[in-house]
């Protein structure tokens, strides 16, 4: 769900709607073309991002991502051990 497709409900939960807010029905369309243009630019960016799927990762990148994940876990364990040792 995106910013452009969300509507707040009274109970605070978000409700998904497939309808994008349209300015074409608005009286402002004729009065304020700049506003319409800005809205369209914004919606175009959002539409482009929403249409994207998962990125294709090379095996090397996958290895690197997992390697860094293990690096983080290992380092955090090391920090915790260090903290415990310092405390005692």
């Amino acid at each position: 769900m995106t910013e452009g497709t969300q509507n707040g409900r009274k109970d605070g939960k978000e409700e998904r709607t497939d309808r994008m807010p349209s300015y074409h029905d608005s009286q402002l369309n004729s009065q304020k073309p700049e506003i319409t243009k800005l809205l369209e630019q914004h919606q175009e960016s959002r539409r482009r991002i929403e249409s994207l799927g998962l990125v294709r990762l090379t095996p090397g990148l996958k290895w690197l991502m997992w390697g860094l994940r293990f690096y983080v876990v290992g380092m955090v364990i090391l920090v915790v051990i260090n903290v415990m040792a310092t405390l005692h």
């Binding site: 707040g8 807010p21 300015y23 959002r46 482009r48 690096y71 090391l78």
Partner: protein, 447 residues
């Protein structure tokens, strides 16, 4: 061309349309920027567009960071560390600039893009890293607030309560722009370290010489390496990436605003590095007098400095630490709320009302409340958290940085704004530097 009053009236007329509140506000801000650009009002354009970079950089000069700089200055002097700290801010600019382009081009936060492009598993891991480090950092911000307030004999509970109230009251306007200006106003107080440094009467030839120092006074040691690592963590942290990109989205910056977004980042880094170096210089007076400051907190630094910079200087130092904690608590709790909203595809905007974004505001308030209460637990090892929080920030940075690098090289997302080869060289250098810092830490702790 309509006046500002016309814009507000026209946007009010838009209300009956099914536009979410945040998009409505964002478009209003965008239209004001559009007008300033059309009228070629450069200063107004700059005024409207600066903010996310300034807040990320000044917010990162938080309580543990300022204490880290103070510890460095008082234990190792300014040699080596002065150019080293400036270098870390250059690295921060390289990193943050990428979020400017990503945010303006995609109108999305970093967490959302990680979920979309790498899937839920990696998204959850990245979110987990961030929320953990943010919570620990938030605790240290309240430690800083308490330490600064202690100098003025303000009880801890009152200091924590006041800090929590300020952080939670900041978004009451339901408008990002108003929130940003309010926090920026407090954040500029970070520059109080500049007059404090001047009060310590630094030697200008020594300062000049410090810029060409390649090793710290007293040589390399395990403790020195830990402080150096802490100084890196004081400048480059995961929350800054998420915060700046989400703020750019919330502020409504678009492709034509990227140039100003870059200036915003450079300006923020310039001001933050000035405050950091000033803190280092101010506390180096304690190094000259061979004072042992290893276990000092904010108030103790202020008290130790008082004989050299006067009572006013000491009070300003304590206020500086207090302010650093307050601003960072505000930006870090907001960054956590942004990431939560983006990760679970919920409304995540300071332009929304409470009723429209309950989860977002609940995370913001809940994390602030929990971190504040932890500080009040008697006997909780707060000093340890303060020491290690910057280090944990550095250690959790490499995976997020890799996501960022992949995203800014993504042709489908970035188009002509994707990283050039030299930006990639710089980015990989920064990533390598951060990872190497972690490895050095591991080796140093095992010795």
């Amino acid at each position: 061309m309509p006046s500002n009053r016309d814009i507000h009236r026209d946007f009010k007329a838009v209300d009956p349309l099914p536009l979410p509140g945040d998009l409505h506000q964002r478009l209003q801000d965008c239209f004001e920027v559009h007008q300033a650009r059309q009228k070629r009002r450069q200063m107004r354009l700059l005024w409207l567009l600066v903010g996310p970079g300034l807040l990320a950089m000044l917010g990162e000069n938080d309580a543990p960071s300022m204490l880290s700089y103070a510890g460095t200055g008082s234990q190792f002097g300014i040699n080596f560390f002065l150019p080293f700290i400036l270098l870390t801010f250059v690295l921060a600019v390289i990193t943050q600039e990428m979020t400017v382009r990503l945010g303006a081009l995609t109108q999305s936060g970093l967490a959302e893009l990680i979920y979309r492009r790498f899937g839920r598993k990696w998204g959850h891991l990245a979110m987990g890293d961030l929320l953990l480090t943010n919570f620990l950092t938030l605790i240290t911000e309240f430690v800083g607030i308490v330490a600064g307030a202690r100098y003025f004999h303000i009880p801890s509970a009152l200091a924590v309560g006041g800090g929590m109230a300020l952080v939670m009251a900041a978004p009451l306007s339901h408008r990002y722009f108003a929130w940003e200006r309010r926090v920026l106003l407090i954040a500029t107080f970070n520059l109080v370290f500049v007059p404090i440094a001047l009060m310590s009467h630094p030697s200008w030839p020594v300062l000049t010489h410090a810029f060409i120092s390649v090793s710290p006074q007293g040589g390399w040691s395990k403790h020195m390496i830990l402080l150096a690592l802490s100084d890196i963590g004081a400048t480059i942290t995961p929350w800054m990436l998420y915060f700046q990109q989400a703020s750019i989205r919330d502020k409504g910056l678009m492709e034509p605003d990227i140039r100003h977004g870059r200036w915003d980042t450079v300006l923020g880094a310039g001001l933050a590095s000035l405050a950091a170096v000033a803190c280092l210089v101010a506390t180096s007076v304690l190094f000259s007098h061979h004072m042992n400051t290893r276990q000092f907190n904010g108030a103790q630094f202020a008290e130790a400095l008082t004989p050299y910079i006067g009572r006013i200087g000491g009070s300003l130092f304590a206020l500086g630490i207090l302010e650093a904690g307050l601003v960072a608590a505000t930006t870090i709790s907001t960054s956590s709320a942004y990431v939560w909203g983006e990760s679970f595809r919920q409304a995540a905007s300071l332009n929304r009302r409470w009723s429209e974004a309950l989860g977002f505001y609940a995370i913001l308030a809940g994390m602030t409340l929990a971190a504040g209460l932890v500080v009040l637990i008697p006997g909780f090892p707060l000093e340890m958290i303060v020491i290690f929080v910057n280090i944990i920030a550095v250690l959790t940075m490499p995976p997020i940085f890799l996501f960022l690098l992949i995203l800014v090289n993504d042709r489908e997302i970035m188009g002509s704004y994707r990283n050039t080869w030299w930006l990639n060289v710089l980015g990989i250098t920064v990533g390598g530097f951060i990872s190497l810092a972690g490895v050095i830490y591991a080796v140093a702790t095992m010795l």
